[in-house]
């Protein structure tokens, strides 16, 4: 069956491509559709990406995934351009609107390259095939005598050429080739794949001309600032808006209905101040005098909540992975070691706060948003307005950071609801205080670990309980336990070769919206596991890396389903992307080697810490060097990452993702903490929700990429984050003898 089909030019595509353009669409399945396809032969294929070639030779590539800093708006079109043998200087990128015909546009899970690399190559190969056929027809020669060469089809025997633009109209009339007729470039002929090109938005960003959600201007637009209940689910009893309406520039106040649980992606509700400009709207909001009925979540207090989580982690809980018999191993152990770990709620705090513009007219709404998931915008806005989702257009702007926050389109629903009510285009701008106070928080977690060691110090049993409010609670108020995807993030897939192993999950109720943040549940699970194995190395009086490698055991592929563990494996089959401990070992050894682990002994407040973790199908090891001065101030002179992410498409952007992950991970380790009292979040801006600044960030991050072209590409946006916090804390232990079991580090005195 062909996976690449010609598609009609219709709807918005008319605006994107000039007449005569060759339009192709490759089609892929969402995981759900793919499952359905297995049983239904004629299930609908959804196109996911388009290429057009204009008669002037311009190749127009549609970027259907969101650009939030990974470079995906460059990297995926670059793959297509390479297979097409297009001249990159003659390529233009158009950003797709939200449309199910692209397949999934949900830019999360570090999935874009691995999900669309093959589709892009196929789309490029097909366009090249049809251009070649067209040229052969023009010359009246056999297509085998023709080849593509940098935006031209060349007749090999004579050296005659046609440019792609000259062939576009004729190529459109060529029959659609069967997939088995397509040929693909050999890796040695790649122009861009594995090498990279500068980000397409680089110059715009550096000159202030990039358009983020914050920068969208629509004629006749008004500005809105929304006051929401400081407690989740609180309802407005009454509001005195007299002073707000007296602010110069304020036009009116408009209420937004409170959400109906479960909250999901709905607008939270509240009261909006509509004004001539952003400043007036925000000033007006500050002058509103509301009375709230707070409801059940007003009891939320972090200190009590934390105690309950920890209590839960001390009791037997629901078993989610069980190998061997930990209880008898503990009974027969030479030594037993146990520890409790805790991590707080975290906020995303992308530099661009949530913002959206909506223009509702005649039962239809056009939206502009920095969103990771424009199709979720369509669904959410349609549900909020009571219209069909085909009447919701979502233009995707550049995203000023996202980290998972902007896959939840509640802020776009607000703009749409307000535009419907005021009859004008509305821009909703969240302040930093709103962003931090009304986030979908990264979950807090309490974890209890216990290990049995034999007389040589080798671990013979490992028990790990984890209690955290699940992300599912945002979508189903009764959810108390982690779902299999959350639990599979660096927890139930523990890679160590320990004969007796049990994982138990305890229940926790959520009092705030819980959501995914860069690397998700891997953050707390890797922190606990990678710290605890370091504790065991110390208990056994062994070198940390040596002990870690011994615990990992012989290279093997771990078959979790065989052990009765439901393991989604980041939506990829285990046969294609196994849990390969040999690859994990390789990065561990490489990071140790490149960091000079064996020769750098701790001293004078300086020490190294190690951690290695598989997530998003990538294998990542980190060695972090910390320096702690006489006053207990910690700096990070150096991080060494070793990374096996399979085939690398754009090395510079991959390296950049890991450089960034080192900083993001350092923020989690050192600074990040969200707390609540009386149901209200206590942090509000960068003074009390701190993120790393230049002097706190690792000074040098060295990224060592393993050459692994024999393996398919894996994720790179997230997997750098999980090993950083434990590696930092392991380094702190090596430097000071203090074992950090609770984040963030700034709550601890290091000297």
């Amino acid at each position: 069956m062909n996976t690449v089909r010609l598609v009609d030019r219709r709807g918005f595509l008319v605006d994107v491509f000039s007449a005569g353009a060759l339009i192709l669409g490759t089609r892929a399945f969402s995981p759900a559709a793919r499952a359905a396809q297995a049983s239904v032969e004629n299930a609908t294929w959804h196109p996911n990406v388009f290429v057009g070639i204009n008669p002037d030779g311009t190749v127009v590539l549609v970027a259907h995934r969101s650009e939030m800093g990974t470079g995906i708006r460059t990297a995926l079109p670059m793959v297509l351009a390479d297979e097409l043998d297009a001249d990159w200087s003659r390529v233009r990128i158009e950003q797709a609107i939200g449309d199910a015909k692209y397949g999934s546009q949900n830019t999360d899970g570090s999935a874009s390259i691995r999900d669309f690399y093959d589709s892009m190559r196929e789309a490029g190969a097909m366009a090249r095939f049809m251009l070649t056929q067209a040229a052969a027809q023009k010359w009246n020669v056999d297509a085998t005598q023709c080849r593509a060469e940098l935006h031209n089809i060349v007749h090999t025997p004579t050296g005659k050429k046609f440019g792609y633009g000259e062939l576009a109209t004729l190529a459109l009339k060529q029959p659609e080739p069967r997939k088995d007729l397509l040929t693909f470039k050999k890796p040695e002929h790649f122009r861009y794949i594995g090498k990279g090109v500068p980000m397409v938005d680089l110059n715009d960003i550096c000159t202030g001309h990039g358009t983020y959600g914050m920068d969208v201007q629509v004629p006749g637009m008004v500005y809105a600032s929304v006051l929401r209940s400081p407690v989740l689910g609180g309802k407005l009893k009454s509001v005195d808006d007299k002073d707000a309406r007296a602010v110069k520039g304020v036009q009116q106040t408009v209420s937004i209905e409170p959400f109906k649980p479960p909250v999901g992606f709905q607008a939270l509700g509240g009261i909006a101040v509509i004004a001539d400009n952003t400043w007036s709207a925000m000033q007006g909001r500050k002058k509103l005098k509301p009375e709230w009925e707070f409801g059940e979540h007003a009891i939320f207090a972090s200190d009590i909540y934390k105690k309950n989580l920890i209590e839960g982690s001390r009791k037997p809980q629901k078993v989610v992975r069980n190998v061997g018999d930990v209880d008898s191993a503990f009974a027969n152990a030479a030594k037993v070691h146990e520890a409790e770990y805790y991590t707080p709620l975290l906020a995303h705090a992308s530099m661009e706060p949530p913002v959206a513009v909506a223009d509702f007219k005649d039962g239809k709404v056009e939206t502009w948003a920095p969103t990771q998931n424009p199709q979720a915008v369509q669904e959410t806005v349609a549900a909020a307005l009571g219209i069909d989702k085909k009447n919701v257009i979502c233009h995707v702007t550049l995203l000023g950071g996202a980290f998972g926050r902007k896959s939840k389109p509640d802020y776009v629903a607000e703009a749409a609801l307000l535009s419907q009510k005021v009859g004008k285009p509305v821009k909703v701008v969240w302040s930093r205080e709103e962003d931090i106070g009304f986030d979908y928080y990264h979950s807090t977690a309490a974890m209890y670990l216990k290990a049995a060691l034999d007389s040589s110090g080798k671990p013979t049993a490992w028990l790990h309980r984890s209690v955290f409010p699940p992300i599912g609670s945002t979508f189903s108020t009764s959810d108390r336990y982690g779902d299999e995807g959350e639990m599979a993030m660096g927890w139930t897939d523990l890679p160590f070769d320990i004969p007796n192993h049990r994982a138990e999950n305890g229940p926790a109720e959520a009092h705030v919206r819980i959501g995914w943040l860069r690397s998700v549940a891997n953050v707390y699970h890797a922190f606990a596991i990678q710290s605890f194995i370091d504790e065991l190395a110390h208990e056994a009086s062994r070198d940390s890396v040596e002990y870690w490698l011994a615990a990992l055991g012989e290279p093997r592929k771990i078959d979790l389903p065989k052990q009765g563990v439901k393991y989604p494996n980041y939506s990829k089959p285990l046969e294609q992307y196994p849990i390969d401990t040999g690859r994990l070992r390789r990065v561990a050894e490489l990071a140790a080697e490149k960091s000079g682990w064996a020769n750098k002994k701790a001293g004078n407040g300086r020490a190294l810490g190690f951690a290695a973790h598989r997530s998003f199908l990538s294998y990542v090891a980190a060695v972090v060097e910390v320096e702690i001065d006489a006053k207990g101030r910690l700096t990070i002179p150096r991080v060494d990452f070793a990374v096996d992410a399979g085939q690398i498409i754009h090395p510079d952007r991959v390296i950049a993702q890991f450089e960034g992950a080192a900083v993001f991970g350092a923020g989690i380790a050192l600074l990040g903490e969200i707390t609540a009292a009386d149901g209200r979040i206590q942090q509000s801006n960068f003074h009390n929700y701190q993120v790393p600044r230049i002097q706190e960030a690792p000074r040098e991050t060295h990224v060592h990429l393993v050459t692994a072209n024999e393996h398919p590409p894996t994720g790179v946006g997230e997997p750098g984050v999980p090993p950083i916090a434990p590696a930092i804390c392991n380094a702190v232990f090596a430097a000071t003898g203090k074992r950090i079991r609770e984040l963030p580090l700034r709550n601890h005195r290091l000297v």
Partner: protein, 151 residues
Amino acid sequence: MIRLTVNGKSQQFEGDPEMPLLWYLRDSLQLTGTKFGCGTGLCGACTVHVNGEAMRSCSASMAGMAGKEITTIEGLSTDGKHPVQRAWKEANVPQCGYCQTGQIMQAVALLKQKPQPTDRDIDNAMQGNICRCGTYQRIRMAIKRAAGVTA
């Protein structure tokens, strides 16, 4: 009425004198290269030059702008070829890019004061500019490159 110069052009402002420069630039003049990040001078995304000095436009009221010369990222160069912008592009600094215009404006001000900045100078000058993507290492590299110092 407040008269000021923005990117070499005379402007007159008749709105609320308490309004921060940031919102005048963004909402009135549509100079959206200057970004909103925190509204309280904590993140540096809104950095512009006021009479040649780096300033957080979110915390500078229009009342204080009378007679001042403002330069935003749009006025730094017309072609993106200011040495700092060139260095930024050569080092491929940006990820999401949202904070980078503020970073660039801050770096330009630093290099004007200290043409050969040390690491400590860079820390001191740039610590008010947050990059959540974590591009600090390349920011440092680009500043040194722009200064002609081998990074």
